[in-house]
Symmetry: C2
Subunit: 263 residues, 2 copies
Amino acid sequence: MTPNSVTLSLHHGVFLNRYAHFELEKVLFHVAVQKRISFQVIRDEVKRRIEARVWPQGSLLPTETQLAEEFNCARATVNRALRELAEQGFVERKRKSGTRVKKEPRRQAKLEISLARQAVENQNSTYRYALVERNLVDSPGWLASQLDVAPAARVLHIICMHYADNRPFQLEERWINIDAVPDVVHADLDSSGPHEWLLNAAPFTDAEIAFSAVSADGRLAEYMGTTAGTSMIQLERTTWKDGQPITFARMTHHPGYCVRTRY
Amino acid sequence: MTPNSVTLSLHHGVFLNRYAHFELEKVLFHVAVQKRISFQVIRDEVKRRIEARVWPQGSLLPTETQLAEEFNCARATVNRALRELAEQGFVERKRKSGTRVKKEPRRQAKLEISLARQAVENQNSTYRYALVERNLVDSPGWLASQLDVAPAARVLHIICMHYADNRPFQLEERWINIDAVPDVVHADLDSSGPHEWLLNAAPFTDAEIAFSAVSADGRLAEYMGTTAGTSMIQLERTTWKDGQPITFARMTHHPGYCVRTRY
DNA sequence: TAGTGGTCTAGACCACTTT
DNA sequence: AAGTGGTCTAGACCACTAC
């Protein structure tokens, strides 16, 4: 069988609609003309069949070997295609069991959590930073449980502001576990924020974030240059390095701030 | 050279600290004992060197071929490791240029946008759905521009509620492009929401989401069983299928609702 | 034009899981 | 015990891009 006379066996026990046939023609075209079929073509075709219900939700896909035969390619190529579909949440794979179409395909949006400085500069505004408060304190109870450090452990408490074109952009309140990052006690936090310092000094391995909506109280309203009761987005973030808690931060964004992403 | 007598050349022109030496011992151990080194080991070691500034921010990594020699493995194995680090945002790869450590590593959080029903059931509550309004309307101007459909095109306007244990969970207001999904006109939306119907009938290929904080007006407060002025998280979502706009939805969550994720 | 990453192949062995 | 995905190899060719 030469690469130019490929025929595909298409008995999946499923009636294919006209659209499916048309798409298959395109696939056949690819196979016949290109010497090598790319994993992207396989990935997209498998995804199409899933959405066209050729392989219904919950059903088992052919094995990698079978698909490799159908597409006339190496098993590794099929593997790469199916691995990406598994990452994207379309299928689930288990050894010995096979590859199964997920019941409820969960697509994941990717959210970039960037530094305030980056966020401000990305919108073509001028960034300004100001340190408001900096204290060594005993960890209050709620923080000790949030960070999972000893109650009354010493932590560095920081309040600072980020401005875009001199208008309030974000109020940041942060607590840093000194046991994890002893150097932070002597860190220069007057010219740039603790977030930037930490990213350099103690890259984290795990993080947890939570978005919520809050109403500004009097103090928050003052900092953000708005009136009490205004709704604002708040982002709370806890990070760990290899299991050791590093910091807990609460960042409140100016009214009208919006977190956007595509997927 | 037998697999049991591997030596690695470790001249990166960089002074390695004690910790780095210790870690390298572990890597050597792996290479010496295991017949095959896994891409995970390479990925983690490269990541470690980046964080230890063995390869500083902005610098060029060795080529795949060089790393393959160092780790005594195939180039494909190195490629897989570096590809994952690129996906995770630690390095940037360009043909001919090579692999470069990113200046500002942007880690991405993965956010699962699930159906209201799934979100409710995940918190072990009982889900209830209610259709509030359903009208065929002419697209208002703002929607036409949001969805990029002809002004005054016909759209299906839907308002519905999602409850958790009979308490308001989410108010959903949605506009569906009838040109893209003509069948929706006759869809049964009395027993389950338009989101679920659409996922089955018209899987999207692209989506854009935006989180913001809103203050409840009188009507919203009534639906959500709260008082006017309460802060709530609002999620706006637009989806397309192959460039054709499908739907725009605005989902307002009950006070106290929180979007969480780990990364 | 040359160097680097991107991908495919054919084969092999391994690891996990179900039977 | 057997079947399926997971991964590695050694080699090959391609595609992009800096020079």
